[in-house]
């Protein structure tokens, strides 16, 4: 009874959370909480994997909780199993990391209780099989993560971030609620099975799609609903940031997939247009925002936005292919998206762990105050480098595999009958390529400025390597990135049942292809073999090294940097994050951010330094969020006068209400 075991894990997490409220300040509370989380996450991971590999059977369960006449329904099918695996893996890694990282926490009593509750909520979302339990878990997930975001509540920004986050989250939940209201109908058939049976189509389904896109999109961070994400994710403690960015956004993706691919009826072709356009904009804007940041964690958060865009591109393609009954192509696109879900959860967690380790060691999130950490934190630096290569979609690591699959799916688009899609999909492909290239640029910046060069501050100078738990967790995840990168076939095969379930077809079996390379469609068409690429590179690198060291010289001398003959001692002369991004800012920023550079040159004889001021505008915020906030405030101000009327005026309100109703009655027939 796999499902029952999972629910026990959830219960254990909840219990741990509630228990910790009492003992959060004790030193052993940390070990207790993170130990429990680690253990339960590992168990659920095993269960989920066994489901995916077909060892254990899918099952469902009904508990006498939640909505009385529906009960709390839970189900475990391949789809939820996969996302459960992602959640559990991320949680396990984060818990392991936190075992060590948690020492830096100055207010554990605000973090420890909420943490296991957060994990439990995420697992429940994936397991829920009726609208009520789903939304309950969904919103509970928002609530607990909110509590974690405002754990350091004395920092004003955190409170602001938490506020924006909670409001946006409730907004998303409410729109999902509306969607489920439509799906369930006036009768209130909230069970997923009942909804599936109802099989909504036409305008109703379209409305549901839009609502879900808003609801799940706002949680996942689709532009323009992403505004909360770069505020909230960095505000939380780093292992929580990793969970929020790496895992919670995936839970949102799960919500989208579950409703749109599973519960809704057959899609209409223009749905995919909607999704693709949003996704394309999202991935490019996300990475451009990221390039403009010099706060390491915020940069990572913006990259989450970008990767969500990539995932949704895959999902949009899957929708398009499914709408036209191109089953295999749909399976390819879906597999690409899901594989990227896994990959992103891996390397994003890894990168946040790295940033957390840096934060713990230096107390700095601002890259411009870091530098040269590769000398003092070699292990962290190496793990972080792996993450950077992976997220930049470079072979032979995992990020490349999923993007490669996405490109392969895009290359199938000419077979689509609709002209709109024929033209749109390659354009989206261009956006995807652009974002991939920009991501590489961004992570050259992130790694180069943070870990390479010379330390820019004393904090970076005296930094020391992080604790062994953190390192263990980072290397574990890095190893997984590598594994998925060189042996993608097995993972693609593991995703096959999901494709079967959702689009009714699967990719050809990959793990049996010779040399373990992956061939999504046909070998004459395209193939990729991460393992061989890796072997070749290592082989030729070693060969080169060997030959040169043997036949030529291997002498080496340390000397001051040459720098064209003008070596400058001060580390301030190094390129900073913003100066590194300057060329790209000049290319893209002037349009996207209305970026302006103003040079302030003091008059001759004035000793003040010249300053270069760069101003960037978040157009989306200015155009979308600011007006709403302003409107609410103005309306509140106007209405507030009603608090200060005299009794007589209140009476006249009553009086006029009475007269009005009487008039209505007099005219009513």
């Amino acid at each position: 009874m796999a499902l029952l075991l999972l629910l026990y894990c959830v219960v254990a997490l909840l219990a741990a959370g509630l228990l910790t409220i009492a003992i959060a300040r004790r030193p052993f509370a940390r070990v207790l909480v993170y130990g429990t989380s680690l253990l339960t996450s590992l168990i659920s991971l095993c269960v989920a994997v066994s489901i995916l590999l077909g060892v254990a059977a899918a099952s469902s369960l009904r508990l006498p909780l939640g909505l009385p006449w529906i009960g709390a329904n839970f189900a475990l099918d391949p789809l939820s199993a996969f996302f459960l695996a992602v959640v559990a893996l991320g949680s396990a890694a984060a818990s392991l990391f936190a075992l060590g990282y948690g020492r830096h926490e100055e207010t554990p009593e605000r973090v420890l209780p909420a943490y296991p509750l957060f994990l439990a909520a995420m697992q429940l979302v994936v397991l829920a099989a009726d609208a009520f339990s789903f939304l309950l878990a969904w919103e509970f997930m928002s609530l607990t993560s909110w509590a974690l975001v405002i754990a350091h509540h004395r920092v004003r920004e955190n409170m602001y971030a938490g506020y924006v986050y909670l409001v946006m989250a409730s907004f998303g939940t409410l729109s999902l609620l509306l969607a489920f209201g439509l799906l369930a109908g006036a009768g209130g058939a909230y069970g997923f099975d009942a909804i599936r049976a109802a099989n909504p189509t036409g305008a109703l389904a379209a409305l549901v799609l839009i609502l879900v896109l808003v609801g799940a999109g706002s949680k996942a961070g689709l532009v323009p609903l992403h505004a909360w994400l770069p505020l909230a994710h960095p505000a939380a403690p780093s292992h929580v940031s990793a969970l929020m960015s790496g895992v919670m956004t995936k839970v949102a993706v799960y919500g989208f997939v579950r409703i749109v691919f599973d519960l809704l009826g057959p899609p209409a072709w223009w749905w995919s247009v909607l999704v693709l356009v949003l996704a394309g904009i999202t991935c490019v804007l996300g990475v451009l925002y990221a390039l403009m940041q010099h706060d390491l964690k915020r940069l990572l958060a913006y990259h989450t936005v970008e990767n969500i865009g990539i995932i949704f591109i895959g999902l949009g393609l899957a929708l398009a292919f499914k709408a036209y009954g191109m089953r295999v192509a749909a399976a390819l696109a879906l597999t690409a998206a899901l594989l990227h879900v896994l990959n992103h959860s891996l390397f994003k967690s890894l990168l946040f762990f790295g940033s957390g380790a840096v934060l713990g060691a230096t107390g700095e999130r601002d890259m411009e105050h870091l530098g040269g950490l590769i000398h003092r934190m070699p292990h962290t630096a190496f793990a972080f480098l792996v993450g950077c290569v992976a997220i930049s979609a470079l072979p032979p690591l995992n990020g490349f595999v999923s993007e490669w699959l996405t490109f392969q799916a895009i290359l199938l688009s000419p077979d689509l009958p609709s002209w709109g899609l024929k033209v749109l999909v390659p354009a989206v492909g261009a956006l995807l390529a652009l974002s991939a290239a920009l991501a590489a640029a961004c992570f050259v910046k992130a790694f180069g400025v943070t870990f390479l060069g010379r330390p820019r501050t004393n904090a970076a100078e005296v930094a020391t390597e992080t604790d062994r738990f953190s390192r263990a967790s980072m290397f574990l995840v890095a190893g997984l990135c590598f594994l998925v990168g060189i042996l993608p076939g097995f993972f693609i095969d593991a995703l096959a049942p999901i494709a079967e379930q959702l689009v009714g077809a699967r990719l050809p079996v990959q793990s049996t292809v010779e040399w373990l390379s992956i061939v999504p469609v046909a070998e004459s068409r395209s193939s990729y073999n991460g393992l061989l690429v890796f072997l070749f590179i290592t082989f030729s690198a070693c060969l080169a090294a060997f030959v040169i060291h043997r036949l030529a010289s291997d002498r080496l001398r340390r000397a001051p940097a040459w720098d064209c003959g003008y070596p400058e001692a001060s580390p301030a002369t190094q390129y900073t994050a913003s100066s590194f991004a300057q060329p790209i800012r000049r290319v893209f920023g002037t349009v996207v951010f209305r970026a302006r550079e103003r040079g302030e040159m003091p008059p001759p004889g004035d000793m003040r330094p010249a300053r270069l001021v760069v101003e960037l505008h978040d157009l989306i915020w200015d155009a979308l969020y600011a007006p709403v906030a302003r409107g609410v405030m103005i309306a509140a101000e106007r209405l507030n006068k009603l608090q200060f009327l005299t009794i007589r005026q209140y009476l006249s309100l009553v009086f006029s209400a009475l007269v009005l109703l009487l008039l209505v009655l007099a005219t009513w027939s």
């Binding site: 590769i374 000419p414 261009a430 180069g448 395209s526 030529a552 010289s553 291997d554 064209c564």
Partner: protein, 318 residues
């Protein structure tokens, strides 16, 4: 037997590209010099440079990390593997399915990624300039390249270079607008990627407009030799890529005899000569442009690539 032969061919190609790369560079330099009425260095000069550099001892800045010393080997390996997978004189190489065109581009991308990191490693201002400009150029060149791939892949129905080359020689491929656009775009990208005039000037130092040379400023000795060799390999790769995609004539196919192979090698050499000559001609003909004109230059390539993809649906007919 069959396998062994294929293996031999694959290995032969690896050695061939490695061997030819410096020669091609030497040839281009020679031609350029001649076009400028100069004597110019001998054809084999690049080899001499490489050997001399290899013999020298390496001087590494104190602030450099282990990454700084690993990167040359990494980027060399990546580029070499990429170059080895591009069909030169024979399609259907043993390992050609290891990486299709997208993967090859990505391999070059990884090489660039690490080289840019190397530029930042020592922590000097010049390295920073080089890296930041390099990634800026790359951020436009890569999507352009991918759009070109889309165009070609949509025509050939594959991203496998062998298949594409096979398709290109076949009569099925008519004269298409998209192909022309793709070719122009590919040439632009190739110029940018190889840091040639007008995007960058491989022959200068200490010029604030330089990109590639600034990045590798701190390198010396065998590291520098490897980096130079990598650059030469990359040039060769792009020329043979263009040749394989747009002039695949004479290239031997999978089950070709010795004669076919010989002709293949010969035609390949011919193509290299032509390509090198055209490159030299082009470089002498125009002047280096300001760095911030480069985006427009590459943006044009991106537009061309996209246009090519879109026009496909129109030009399918003829």
């Amino acid at each position: 037997m069959e396998l062994a032969f294929n293996f031999a061919v694959q290995f032969a190609q690896m050695l061939l590209v490695l061997a030819l790369a410096p020669l091609l560079t030497g040839f281009v330099r020679k031609v350029k010099a001649r076009l400028l009425r100069r004597q110019g260095p001998p054809l084999l000069q690049p080899y001499r440079d490489l050997i001399r550099l290899m013999r020298k001892e390496v001087i590494v800045a104190e602030s450099a990390s282990w990454l700084f010393r690993v990167i040359p080997y990494l980027i060399f390996a990546a580029t070499w593997v990429a170059a080895a997978l591009v069909p030169t004189f024979r399609t259907g190489l043993l390992f050609s399915w290891t990486a299709d065109l997208i993967a090859i581009i990505a391999l070059l991308g990884s090489a660039r990624f690490f080289l840019a990191l190397a530029g930042l490693d020592v922590g000097t201002s010049f390295g920073g300039i080089g890296s930041s400009r390099e990634v800026m150029i790359a951020s436009l060149a890569e999507p352009a390249m991918l759009m070109i791939v889309f165009t070609l892949a949509l025509i050939a129905g594959s991203t496998q270079l062998s298949t594409m080359a096979g398709f290109m020689v076949s009569p099925a491929v008519g004269l298409r607008v998209s192909l022309g656009l793709a070719l122009i775009a590919l040439i632009i990208v190739a110029i940018a990627e190889n840091a040639r005039i007008p995007v960058d000037n491989p022959a200068t130092h200490l010029e604030l407009t330089m990109v590639h040379e600034a990045m590798v400023l701190e390198y010396s000795g065998r590291h520098l030799a490897l980096i130079d060799l990598t650059a030469e390999l990359k040039l060769l790769l792009y020329i043979s890529l263009i040749a394989c995609l747009f002039a695949p004539w004479g290239i031997a196919d999978k089950n070709a005899g010795a004669l076919a192979l010989a002709t293949g090698v010969a035609t390949y050499a011919g193509k290299l000569v032509v390509g090198g000559f055209l490159l030299a001609l082009f470089e002498t003909a125009i002047a280096k442009m300001r760095v911030f004109r480069v985006p427009e230059f590459l943006g044009a390539a991106l537009m061309l690539g996209l246009l090519g993809t879109l026009l496909l649906f129109v030009s399918r007919s003829f």
